[in-house]
Point group: C2
């Protein structure tokens, strides 16, 4: 449990990279996708299935966990790894993003953010120091700084103010994190909305402060994909090549391929599980909406060659029936299918970068999505 | 797939029995508990977990399946075993019970029952012949006759009328089932409410008609446990010793032990999964309501010696958290815990009957429930 946190770059291919993040709880191969365990559970999916899907790291939501069951309670129960029985790496966000999106009556000051719990209305304060303390109590391997995230589109003045506040909070988080165990790391978060100059200023200042890894935050918050990718393209060159880069809250399979091509190493998103619960399966042949009526009589599995048992073993007709009947097993099975798909996409990307053929891999993958050769024509 | 349906009695201990039912899809050791797969799914639980729990046979609900996705559709997809990917034995009820409890505007005549689907309001007819046809289309290993079940308490005249109608339907079902594959069987259902004389008349007439197995229906429909057990005690002696006896819709762990002592071989009930979804875990130490506040800080598992991984691996504090947070994984894990508990109870009963110590086994089991030695005192 004492190996220092580090990032080892194994190969690059254009801007795309593959490597490994070493943490106190194990190794994470990059590019990596982190399933989201909002409330210490990947919604509807057993941890064992998450692990077998290939996930090497989970994301936990500080906002949810600090409110229920509370960071202190989780610490008393041995930390988040022991509490949820996931002995592998865990990254936690700072709570800031969900304070903005979920909590009523939030108020941001220089000191931090004050908000009312969406559960019981209690008044809660979250400062940079408290965000680090909570994540210390959880025992996260990768701790995120508290930041202020502005929903796009937004005025440049608002974006700049939030970006600069986030930089000051980054310094305070770094001080609060001093003395943490060597296998753990604190990441800074680049803000600056859709403004390239503000993004560059944020990235450069964060690098001056100095972190073992950097996230790009404040994207996938309403802007078009091309805007997001443009910001990613302009931000990653300003980040150190020998440290991991994490694009927060992203995204679709295509978002992931495009962002890997632009030098991103880590992702998290609720999409595999949320879309799975809503009947959408990600497959080699593109997304399949299993609720569509034409699946009702289709005896074929989602993908007979998938590594995922649920994608191989159950017919589309059966999965369709589960959704039409409101059986929760349907959402669970499609969530598992999607978690496998995302992990296999990352494994394919890692192999392709190592082989120096990432662009071909991305093009072939997208071509197969577009052919939809596996769909029924009626 | 061609071994004839049969029941082999291996040992008796007082009225309690242990044996094996041989069907086209495999062997069922008795006493047997059948998890309920209402809509071709054990609610919230993957089939693999159901199988690993020790279940050798599932129950499917004809009423639900004939309405959605329809028996004809399931037949076209290879039958219920293939459709839901459960290659082991399946028993289906006749649909009669759920017509009574779920369908609006039902009308019972000599010919059968007409009702409106609770899904789309369509008018549906279910005769004894159609009930057998539907179960043929599903491919059930054990087919149940159509019967009329009266909710208790009820007038003797109503009970008698329904019992006699069920006997006439039993004869029609037997004729309709003639020529079925040898590995499949049709069971008759004893009715007669809480009236011992009517129960005896029903049992004797059914035995005269002749079936390879008999169910006791119309119990666990609102009467006290002592009334149910009295009827069971008076009915089983009227049934052939060399054929299986199935007590429908029962019950609690105590109901099962009491009924095994009275000569019952088979059970089905939604209790393990329904109660699990509602936060109640069945354990060696009696039922545990995981939602109670005193579990919030309890690092102990439900039962460190359980055969069930979910009962061993997760703390009560974590399971409590999942329920308090509305995470579906909580209901899934407790459903699995309960399915294992029911199957282990049946395995214990089988071993005890074979060893000639069933009464001791039942007494020891109940004593352990009562000690609640594993509960926190605060």
């Amino acid at each position: 449990m004492s190996e220092p946190f580090s990032f080892r770059l194994a190969a690059t291919d254009g801007a795309a990279r593959t490597g490994a993040i070493i943490t106190a709880h194990g190794v994470v191969h990059t590019p990596a996708f982190m399933p989201v365990g909002t409330q210490a559970s990947i919604k509807g999916v057993h941890h064992d299935d998450v692990r077998v899907s290939g996930a090497e790291i989970l994301l936990g939501n500080t906002y949810h966990l600090m409110l229920r069951p509370s960071a202190e309670r989780i610490a008393a129960l041995g930390g988040l790894h022991a509490f949820m029985r996931w002995p592998h790496p865990i990254l936690t966000d700072s709570g800031g993003f969900q304070v903005m999106s979920l909590a009523p009556l939030r108020k941001i000051t220089e000191d931090g953010v004050t908000f009312r719990s969406h559960i019981d209305g209690a008044l809660v304060e979250l400062s940079p120091e408290r965000a680090v303390e909570v994540q210390d109590l959880l025992g996260s391997d990768i701790v995120m700084q508290l930041d202020e995230c502005v929903r796009l589109p937004a005025e440049r003045g608002d974006i700049e103010r939030a970006m600069k506040l986030s930089l000051r909070w980054a310094e305070r988080c770094k001080r609060a994190f001093e003395g943490a165990a060597p296998g753990r790391a604190l990441f800074g978060i680049v803000q600056g909305g859709d403004d390239p100059a503000l993004r560059l200023e944020s990235a450069r200042t964060l690098v001056d402060i100095g972190f073992p890894g950097y996230a790009i935050g404040g994207l996938a918050v309403g802007e078009p994909q091309d805007v997001m990718l443009k910001i990613v393209s302009e931000t990653t060159p300003a980040l150190p090549a020998d440290q991991p880069r994490y694009l927060m809250g992203v995204g679709t399979p295509d978002d992931l391929l495009q962002s890997i091509a632009r030098g991103v190493d880590m992702f998290d998103c609720v999409m595999p599980t949320r879309n799975g619960r809503h009947g959408l399966a990600f497959t080699r042949f593109g997304p399949i909406n299993i609720k569509n009526a034409h699946h009702a009589d289709d005896p074929r599995p989602l993908d007979p060659e998938s590594r995922c048992p649920a994608a191989r073993d159950f017919s589309r007709a059966y999965l369709h029936h589960l959704f039409r009947s409101g059986e929760a097993l349907g959402g669970t099975l499609l969530s598992i299918v999607n978690l496998f798909y995302y992990q296999d996409l990352m494994a394919g990307a890692r192999a392709a970068v190592a082989a120096g053929r990432f662009a071909d891999f991305a093009a072939e993958t997208k071509e197969q999505w577009a052919t939809k050769s596996n769909r029924l024509t009626h």
